[in-house]
């Protein structure tokens, strides 16, 4: 019983990190079909924003809260810039986009290394995130709880934007049928840009949150980009709820596998499970009824 509770919690916190990292990708890749390999570097941009904010606002109790919206803006603007200069020329060419954005990612990493140095930067976590919360006899770290909260907040925000706002309707219309959306007067180019801004911004928020659990280094994104794609692919392209379920499923399954086997084997088994799952359901958990995605 203890094992089940502790691994459920550990898995859920891994899942929350995965979800947070994959949420932006679920918009840019899932909704728009852009394979943006530089997404991981937007995480990094968010993490360094948290670091710089902390340098400017020496009070670590508040700097994290300031960094969250700032990280969103910084990564969002980076994304917008990338969309306008590079990706907009490459729609309908997924493989070209993949290679170019991969290159952009490498450039961003090296720039960060030149600016901030190769050493990881320590970002102090606020004192109100120290300690643990006792849940069902399991000491649950408050930092992880905070990450779950941010993930849920971002998720709710994204879902609300997609569902209730005019922008959300335009995004969904563009995803479901670009030509038809254009004929009714939706500026699909403008919609693309805003979607990409939002998706990249979410990566920035995730990056700020990641400073709580991992090192702030220039190659921060590389460890998260693969799991993030895995979540979106397994969850089903074009569906946010698929990503949510996939993130938590991967987190929890991974935790149990790690517990009963070993860390490395668990990574392999997780991949095997996802590949096997995609054999049965190549479209992922959920699929959106659409005439054209690209």
């Amino acid at each position: 019983m203890d094992v089940i509770v502790s691994q459920l919690f550990t898995g859920a916190s891994t899942g929350a990190v995965l979800l947070l990292v994959a949420l932006g990708l679920a918009l840019t890749f899932g909704q728009m079909g852009v394979i943006n390999m530089a997404h991981g570097e937007f995480l990094m941009a968010g993490a360094y924003t948290a670091y710089l904010t902390q340098q400017a606002v020496s009070n670590s109790d508040v700097s994290l809260l300031i960094a969250l919206p700032l990280g969103f803006l910084v990564a969002g603007m980076l994304g917008l810039l990338l969309e306008m200069t590079v990706i907009s020329r490459m729609y309908h060419r997924p493989l070209d986009t993949l290679l170019v954005t991969f290159g952009v990612g490498l450039i961003l990493q090296q720039v960060a290394r030149d600016v901030f140095g190769a050493q990881p930067k320590a970002v102090a976590s606020p004192t109100w995130l120290h300690g643990q919360l006792d849940l069902l006899g399991y000491g649950y770290p408050v930092t992880r709880l905070f990450i779950v909260t941010i993930a849920v907040g971002c998720l709710a925000g994204t879902a609300a934007v997609l569902k209730y706002t005019a922008l959300g309707r335009r995004i969904r219309a563009t995803v479901q049928n670009r030509d038809l959306a254009e004929t009714v007067g939706v500026s699909t180019r403008g919609t693309d840009r805003v979607t990409f801004f939002l998706g990249s911004g979410l990566a920035g928020v995730a990056g700020v949150a990641l400073t709580l659990v991992t090192a702030t280094v220039s190659n921060l994104g590389t460890s998260y980009i693969v799991p993030a794609f895995l979540v979106v692919v397994a969850g089903g392209i074009g569906q946010i709820k698929g990503s949510v379920i996939a993130a938590f499923a991967l987190g929890i399954v991974g935790a149990f596998l790690t517990y009963y086997t070993s860390g490395s084997l668990a990574t392999v088994l997780t991949f095997v499970l996802v590949v096997a799952f995609l054999q049965i359901r190549p479209q992922g958990l959920f699929t959106v009824r659409t005439r054209s995605l690209a």
């Binding site: 898995g11 320590a122 991992t214």
Partner: protein
């Protein structure tokens, strides 16, 4: 299901699988090295070329940049003292880009195109293993400055970091004899050094009545330590032996702290956390232990001079660490060997190597001509609140290197 969606999903799957494959791609290098062993080192002028080969980009640049810096300091000091055999050192710096195959290519370039007299660098075992056939077939020299898993002694390589009997075994002796531990938990990154180190630890434990309560690995680029830390909480070992490398340590220690563990409850002994790494971890590490052969806080005139010169050259906020010190020492040892041989020729230098000494920041070190390692004193340290590391225990003088652990009867290289 729409065809485009399917194609997109297929592309994405390829990306995911391809990336993870490339992330763990090993090195197959050295085969390309041509057989021309004729040295082209030019010693006719006032200068002699040496090569520094460190990762200045990629994941390992975090660590290797610092080694390149301390090598630069050694070269500057040697030149200021009149150089080696009266010749000024001319440095050719190459970037190994954290990729073993690139280390092999760049080593070949340094030896054949730049005609360097010796190469200094490498960090990961895979980078050393990739360079090994190159320096061997071209009969050149490599000075490798990082503690490693031992079980190797190559004619063309000098190892100035610790082998296992100068770092891991003394740490176990310390835990057994001073801390009286009965149980231990092993956590490491999943590659050759932690796997070999843990194999040694397990055999030591079996021979010394220490119970191994768990053994956990994570790949280098994956920072998910939640389950492993849960197991530590569950098994309550007397101590955790940490062979995790790189940034992954940050994730591990954050998790350790978040789950309420500390040096007071279950102490950790780490063999890959030095001053640089400790400074970057935003967790109270006070009281956690490390095992190295050098700390910035070592009290000696040689070390005081080294730290002062390093800070003067690179900035007051910089710290010095074991691999940096070992790299600094390696260049001075090469100078000693060359001057003893009175020649830059590789064979002459190897011939002269035995017994060459240097008053290094860690103390006096002596080159062992048989296995090309150096005698080093082991220092168990404790992390201070300011993230510097203070020695709390040291071995009785320098320990002779024994890379194949021939002097330990409990060691069985073919055992589990």
């Amino acid at each position: 299901m729409n065809l485009n969606t399917r194609r997109l999903a297929a592309v994405a799957s390829v990306v995911v699988v391809g990336l993870s494959a490339s992330a763990c791609g090993g090195a197959k290098a050295g085969d390309s090295a041509s057989a021309s062993a004729e040295s082209c080192v030019d010693t006719s002028g006032d200068t002699v070329k040496i090569g520094f080969l460190n990762s200045l980009s990629g994941a390992m640049s975090i660590s290797e940049k610092t080694v390149s810096d301390s090598l630069g300091l050694a070269a500057e000091q040697i030149n200021a003292e009149g150089g080696v055999l009266g010749k000024q050192l001319e440095i050719v710096q190459e970037d190994g880009a954290s990729e073993p195959t690139i280390f092999a290519e760049k080593a070949e370039k340094l030896i054949q195109s730049d005609c360097v007299a010796a190469i200094f660098g490498g960090w990961t075992s895979s980078s050393r293993v990739a360079m090994r056939p190159v320096v061997k077939s071209l009969n050149s020299l490599l000075f490798y400055p990082v503690q490693y898993e031992g079980l190797e002694a190559d004619r063309n390589i000098f190892y100035t970091g610790a082998t296992t009997n100068q770092q891991i075994i003394p740490a176990l002796d310390f835990l057994k004899n001073e801390k009286k531990i009965d149980s231990i938990f092993l956590a490491g990154s999943d590659y050759v050094f932690p796997r070999t180190a843990n194999k040694i630890i397990k055999q030591y434990a079996a021979a010394h009545d220490i119970e191994v309560l768990g053994e956990e690995y994570q790949t280098l680029d994956k920072g998910e330590w939640g389950t492993a830390v849960d197991k530590i909480v569950e098994t309550q070992p007397d101590v955790v032996f940490n062979t995790i490398n790189g940034d992954s340590n940050v994730a591990f220690l954050e998790e350790y702290d978040a789950k309420g563990l500390s040096a007071k409850t279950i102490p950790i002994v780490s063999v890959s956390i030095a001053e640089e790494e400790a400074a970057a971890i935003d967790v109270d590490l006070t009281g956690q232990m490390t095992s190295w052969n050098y700390y910035q806080t070592v009290e000696s005139p040689d070390n005081a001079a080294f730290v002062k010169a390093f800070k003067a050259k690179y900035g007051d906020e910089r710290v010095t660490s074991d691999p940096m010190e070992a790299a600094y020492t390696s260049l001075w040892l090469w100078k000693g060997m060359v001057e003893k041989a009175d020649s830059f020729d590789v064979d002459d230098v190897i011939e002269a190597a035995d017994g060459v000494t240097f008053d290094s920041p860690e103390g006096t070190v002596v080159v062992n001509g048989d296995n090309h390692h150096i005698a080093k004193t082991t220092l168990i340290g404790e992390v201070q609140p300011n993230k510097l590391i203070k020695t709390i225990w040291s071995s009785d003088g320098p320990i002779e290197p024994d890379p194949f652990l021939e002097g330990y009867d409990w060691w069985d290289p073919n055992g589990a």
